[in-house]
Every structure is written in structure tokens, then in C-alpha cells.
Amino acid sequence: MSAEGGLTTAGYIQHHLTNLAVCADSAKDATGHCHGFWTLHLDTLIVSGLLGLVAFGLMAKLASRATAGVPCGWQNFVEMVVGMVDQQVKDTFHGKSALVTPLAITIFIWVFLMNAMDLIPVDFLPVAASAVGVDYLKVVPTTDPNLTFAMSITVFLIMIWMNLKVKGFGGYMHEIFTAPFGAKLAPVNLIFRIVEDIAKPISLALRLFGNMYAGEMVFILIALLGLYQLPLALPWALFHILIITLQAFVFMMLTIVYMSMAAESH
């Protein structure tokens, strides 16, 4: 079950929830753990990067050979997923943009794959990693708030860019200061707008992080049961298939909604 036999329950959980971090020696504390901003979570970066490179590389290779004729199996599958995302974009986003559909596709597929790392039994990869000398490995990148915030802040920046592109600087400022109460209550409108806009990336990031972190925690707790985990891990994994798909879909859908709000004037 656990790589280190003598570990306490709390230690086991703690070990599973610690990222593989690198930082300058000066940023390390007495136990060798990194603190401060200039720390990199290598496991998050590598796992998410590899998943993305493999998935989008394969998709790009497939797309370059895509034909208008009868699609082969993989092209059919990718077209099905991509077509589903495109349909959501068409239903929700009424502006014209070459960015929104690719953005939504990227989010859905990448988040889904990263979430799906949760389905690998919790000890497999950490034990394998410790066998080759890597002490810590947190396999599911979406349980790292750095990743979810990176995505939601990127979405937030694209949202602002979309606002500026569609409405122009003047139109954007006008909307910020006059909606929803009119020009006379400009300061109130501004405060409302700031709260509303800041809530978007935070809720996006924390929703995904919270769901995946909690799911991972349940997997870890089930793994603590020893042999009894078997009848529990399977149902939870099956149930979790729903959650990982749903969370990927929700992140994608909210991004589309935010983009469509940015592209439409009030």
C-alpha cells in the first residue's frame, strides 16, 4: 500500500498531497521543503505538459490528415468531441471569433485528461517514482491550485482582451461605469463590476481545484483501508468518471459564457 511501511496515516496522506518542488537552496527550510514564490512544482508542470503535448500533438497530427470523406475511427472520435464543444460554443457564443472554439476545445480536453489521472490508483505512480529516486509525486495536476489559477487567470485575460476587441476601450469603460445602474451611480457600478469580474477567475479555479482535491482525498482515504479498499475504490472511481467529465465540461462551459458576456454589450 504505502511505499514507506512505518509511516503514520497522517504522514501517508501528507506525503500524497505534497508536490515535487524545486527551488533555490536559500528558499528551503530545515526539512528541505520549499517556501516562497520562486518554487516550481515539477510534477504538476511535467504531468500536465506531457498530457497536453501528447493529446494536442496527436490531434494536430490527426487533423493534418483529416479528410472530408468517411472518417477513420480516431478522426471520428476526435470530430465527435470537437463537434460537441463546437456545438456548445455555437449555442452560447453568438459573436465571431476564431479563438473561442479552440480555447474551449483546449480546456475541455486538457482538463479532462488531467482529471483522468485521478483514475490511476493513488499509489501506482508515487511508488514507481520513489523506486527511481523521486520522493514526492502528486499525479493529478488539477489538484494543484497553481494550475487551476493559471488557467482561470489566462481565461480572465482573454476575457478582457475580448472586451477591448469587441467594444473598444471607450465602449468597455462605458460599460464598466454605467452598467447596471446608469451613469449617475458610476462608482457603485465600478465596484460591482470589479467584484463580478474578480469572482469569475476565482470561482473557476477554486471549483475545479476543490472538486479534484476532494476526490483525490477520498481516493487516498479509501487506499488507507488496506484490502477493504477494493470494493470501495471501484465504485468511487466509476462515480469519479462522472465528476472528471463534469468538471472539465463546467470549466469549458463557463469560459464560453464569460467570452460571450465579453463579446456582447449590455
Binding site: 518554487t39 493534418s64 483529416a66 470523406g69 479552440p102 480555447l103 476545445i105 483546449t106 486538457w110 494543484d144
Partner: protein, 156 residues
């Protein structure tokens, strides 16, 4: 689980993947899907057109068949009429020919009868004269009774 520089790295990853999808994944797939949609629409339209054309052709062929049947029956009727006429004509001609043959036969017979009568007439006069000669050898002078013999000859 603190916020740190990983955030920047992840944002870079995210931007890279959005760029890959935007440049290399979505446009070719979208094009393939749109092309296929167009092909299917075209195919369905062509099928519809073909069906209509087939219906028109079927109607036209039925028309042609009916026309041909009408013409054939017309031709047959005309041929029958013509055949009847030919038979009628032949009958008429045969009748005329037969009449002619009959008439000429009759005339020949009449001639023959006339000739036979003539011969008989000649012979009767001779026989009568001979008989009278024999019966009346002594008494009757041929020259003296020539007018009586002549009227007898005329009476035949």
C-alpha cells in the same frame, strides 16, 4: 499548496496548447467537417434530382409505349383494310374474267351451232333432193321444180 511560480509555467503551457489547437487542430478539422457536410448535402440534392429525373423518364417511356401501341394498332387496321380490298378487287376481276370466258364460250358454241345448222341445212336440202330424186325420179324434173325446192330450202 501555496501559489508560486508554477502558476507562470502552467499559464505558458496553457497558452501553448491553445495556440496548437488554434493553429493545427481546429481549422483542418473544421474544414473537413464543413466539407463533409457540404458533400452530404450535395449528395442528397443529387439523389433528389435523380429521383425526379427518373420519374420524368418513366412517364416519358410510358407515353412512348402507349403511342407505339396506338400506331401499331392503326397499322394493323390499315393492313386489314388493304387486304380486304385486295381480296375484293381480285374477286371482281375473277368475275369479269369468268364472264368474259363464259361469253366467248357461248359465242363459240353459238357459232358452232350455226355452222352445224348450216351444214345440216346443206345436207337436208341435198338429202331431200336425193330422197325426192329417188322417190320422184321419173316424174319430177329438177329444173321444173327448182322454185319449189328453193322455197323448201328457204323454209328450213
Amino acid at each position: 499548496m501555496s501559489i508560486n511560480a508554477t502558476l507562470i509555467g502552467q499559464a505558458i503551457w496553457f497558452a501553448v496548447f491553445i495556440w496548437i489547437t488554434m493553429k493545427f487542430v481546429w481549422p483542418p478539422l473544421q474544414k473537413a467537417m464543413a466539407d463533409r457536410q457540404k458533400q452530404i448535402a450535395d449528395g442528397l440534392a443529387a439523389a433528389e434530382r435523380g429521383k425526379q429525373e427518373q420519374e420524368i423518364a418513366a412517364k416519358r417511356s410510358a407515353d412512348a409505349l402507349r403511342e407505339a401501341k396506338e400506331k401499331a394498332s392503326e397499322v394493323i387496321a390499315a393492313a386489314e383494310r388493304r387486304a380486304q380490298q385486295i381480296v375484293e378487287d381480285a374477286k371482281g376481276q375473277a368475275k369479269v374474267e369468268a364472264d368474259k370466258v363464259l361469253a366467248s364460250g357461248k359465242a363459240e358454241i353459238d357459232q358452232e351451232v350455226e355452222r352445224a345448222k348450216q351444214q345440216l341445212r346443206e345436207r337436208v336440202a341435198e338429202l331431200a333432193v336425193a330422197g325426192a330424186e329417188k322417190i320422184l325420179k321419173k316424174e319430177i324434173n329438177a329444173a321444173a321444180h327448182a322454185d319449189i325446192l328453193g322455197s323448201l330450202k328457204q323454209g328450213l
